[in-house]
Structures are given as C-alpha cells and as structure tokens.
C-alpha cells in the first residue's frame, strides 16, 4: 500500500516537472524551416550544416527578461548534454548589432548568437513571442517546441534532449 502511494507521489511530482518544462511534442515529421543567418562576427550559419546534431533554435531579444534569466542555464546545458552532438543557435529578434553586443558582453553566452535584423526568419518560423524554442533532431525535424523561460540544465530537460539525439 505504502509502495503504491510512493509510486503515485513520484509519478505526480514527475509529471509536474515535465509540465513545468512545458515541452510540446510535435506530431509527425515536421521539417525545420530554412535558417541562414550571420553571427555577431559576420560568419554565416546554415541550420542544414548542423544535421547529425540536436539543435536548440531559440528566438530571443535583449529586452526579454525570461531570455536574460535563462541564458546562464543554456551555457550549462552545453556541458550537460555530454557526448550527444549538440548546438545552440540563438536568433536575436530584430535588434541592432550594437544592442546585442552590449548584452553579450554582460551575459557572456557560450553559444552561437545569430542576427536577424529584418525579421525574415521570425516570420518563416512563425514566432510571435519570446523566448520561443525549437528542438531539432539530427535529421532536421522539429521534435519539440517550448515557449517561455526555463532552466535548460534541469535533469528532466537534458534527459529528453539526449533522447532526441539517440533516434
């Protein structure tokens, strides 16, 4: 009886954690839209070049408080993903290089920040809020989406993302 109760409590608490992460699974095979943008150093990145890796594509902005708050955990998740080939492409939503550079010097992201000053990719990816996140599998399909700030290095999220890499 006690065992059953404990199992129920554990299951309920686990579902709470997953709900908190708010990862939404994408039904079927949905290919990620094109994403070709330059980083702050002017180097061009094409999402297609990262096939074979799990990719977190995030749309963010410097004025977005949850984006700022979660970035340290994004730095930590790179290590937490361990041996799973993994890449973060953080697309700034329509700000100037000057605005983003100032933010980067304060927050010090260890991942690739891409610039989209005219907002083309924002339209292509149907992004209406920040932060908006897409988890792309090694074949280039969108597996999960997530809206809002989270702790990216939480064990539950890392476990899910590692599983995406094993398919």
């Amino acid at each position: 009886m006690i065992k059953r109760l404990l199992v129920t409590v554990i299951l309920i608490s686990m579902s709470g954690i997953l709900q908190a992460a708010n990862l939404k699974a994408v039904d079927g095979k949905v290919a990620a839209p094109s994403l070709v943008l330059q980083d702050l150093q002017g180097k061009q990145h094409d999402l297609k070049d990262y096939k074979g890796k799990v990719v977190l594509v995030q749309f963010w902005a410097t004025y977005c408080a949850p984006c700022r708050k979660e970035m340290p955990s994004m730095n930590k998740m790179i290590k937490a993903m361990g041996d799973v080939p993994f890449k973060i492409l953080a697309v700034d939503m329509g700000e100037t290089k000057e605005e983003v550079e100032q933010f980067v010097s304060e927050v010090k992201p260890k991942f690739t920040v891409l610039m989209d000053e005219d907002g083309k990719s924002i339209a292509d990816w149907r992004v209406f809020a920040a932060p908006s996140n897409f988890i792309i599998d090694p074949q280039g399909n969108i597996r999960y989406t997530l809206f809002g700030g989270v702790e990216w290095d939480s064990a539950e999220l890392i476990e899910k993302l590692k599983a995406v890499g094993q398919i």
Binding site: M93, R126, A129, S132, F134, F147
Partner: protein, 251 residues
C-alpha cells in the same frame, strides 16, 4: 529669488487649476453597474472613449487626456473595474458586461461627436467586444479604434503555429489603428493580428513605435525613449485619429 519662487508657485497653481477645471466626473447608470466616467470636455467634434482598467489610477492617460482636450478632442474615461467592483487582474475583463460597454458608447454618441475608442494591452478586448455588439445592434458604425499594444491571444502562443485570438477578434467593421512597441516580440505578430481583424471587413493600419516596450507609459523602469513617447502620447493619438478619419472619408 523670492520673486522667482512666487512666479513658479503661481504657474504650478495655475496649471493645476486648469487640470482640475478640465475634468468632470459623471456617473452613467446601466442595468448592471453605475460607472463613473472622467470627462475631459472639449469643443471639437471628436470624442475619444477610453477603457483603462486601472481603477481610476491612470496618471499618464490623464495627462494625455488633458492635452487632447486642450486641442479640442473630448476624452471620456469610464472606471469600469470600480463600477463592477472588480480587482485589477486580467480575468476581470470577462466580468465586464458588453451591455454596459455599449450603454457607455450610446451616451458618448448622444454628444453628436465622432466617437473613437481607445484601450491598451488586454483591455483592447473590451473595445472589440463592445464595437461588434454595437454594430450587431444595428447602430451606426463608430469612427474608429486605437489599440495600443493589443494582447489578444486566446492562449500562450505555440512556437511555429499561427496564434489563436480571442473570439472578439474579427467581429467588427470598425477602422482600427494598431500601435505596438518596437521592443516587444508582439511587433512580429502585427501582420497576423491585422489579417485576423480584417476578416470582418475592418480596415486595419499598424505602426511600430521605435525603441519602446509594451505598456511603456505604465512602466516604473521607463527608459528615456519611453519617457519621451509618453510625453508625446497626445500627438501619437491625434495622428492615429487623423489616419482613421482618412479611412472613413475614402469609403
């Protein structure tokens, strides 16, 4: 120095007396609530009816209303939350009856002036709901509506999917001006929102105000750009009314 102090005090008292003179409080009795309306009278033929759900605490809006009234635009600001004895939370909006909103519009229309509606954030839902009911009741189309940083998603937007809007979106023919801050992700949804609003035949224009965030005139941490735009909000509204009047003339 003393003379300067007297002059300054005189100027402050004079401007305060002007402000006090400008505002009248009128109670509109409806079937469901008695709503106090702050009225900033003016001689012109335009009346701006705002729906600020802030329990009568709208400081920046009052300054703007005074400025507009000085330029001949009459402003009415009904205190709906107090009228319905509701807390200042988003869920209160659904408690405000559409009949009460249309009753206030009816009173505004009786002045014979061109009536424009204005609201910000989630309160913009009230405008759309009221306008569609007003039209469904067979009344003459109002002159237009200004929606400042409208927040009209039905639920949290899912990345990659076109958002669903609340039911009142796409129900009115009212000409609409959308104003959105340049420093908010919502600016990227303006096209989609415009298309949704146009479904009912509404003519929609949208403008992005550079360098400001949403709710810029309510912010405690407003930056310099936001302070500047707040101080010029009357001008922004006048330009919007000008655009909306143009939409009416060309029809």
């Amino acid at each position: 120095m003393t003379t300067l102090k007297i002059i300054l005090t005189g100027l402050v008292l004079f401007s305060m007396s002007l402000a006090l003179h400008a505002k009248e409080i009128r109670t509109i009795e409806t079937d469901e609530a008695d709503v106090e309306v702050r009225i900033f009278p003016a001689d012109g033929n335009v009346l701006l009816l705002g729906f600020p759900c802030d329990e009568g605490k709208s400081i920046a809006e009052e300054k703007t209303a005074n400025s507009l009234a000085n330029d001949g635009i009459e402003v009415w600001m009904p205190d709906l939350l107090s009228g319905f004895m509701l807390p200042k939370v988003r869920s209160s909006l659904v408690e405000i009856s559409t009949d009460t909103l249309t009753a206030i519009i009816e009173e505004a229309s009786k002045t014979g002036k061109q009536v424009f509606l204005i609201a910000s954030g989630p309160d913009t839902e009230l405008i759309l709901r009221a306008a569609s009911q007003w039209e469904a009741d067979g009344n003459k189309l109002l002159s237009g509506a200004i929606l400042m940083f409208p927040r009209l998603f039905k639920e949290e937007p899912v990345p990659g999917k076109v958002p669903e809007y609340i039911d009142a979106v796409g129900e009115t023919k009212l000409p609409i001006m959308l104003l959105e801050g340049g420093r908010t992700p919502n600016r990227w949804g303006l096209k989609t929102l415009s298309e949704a609003l146009q479904k009912s035949g509404s003519k929609v224009t949208s403008k992005v105000i550079p360098k400001v965030r949403g709710y810029f005139f309510k912010r405690q941490d407003a930056n310099r750009s936001e302070d500047v735009v707040t101080s010029q909000m009357a001008g922004l509204i006048k330009v919007s009314i000008f655009y909306l009047e143009g939409k009416n003339i060309h029809d």
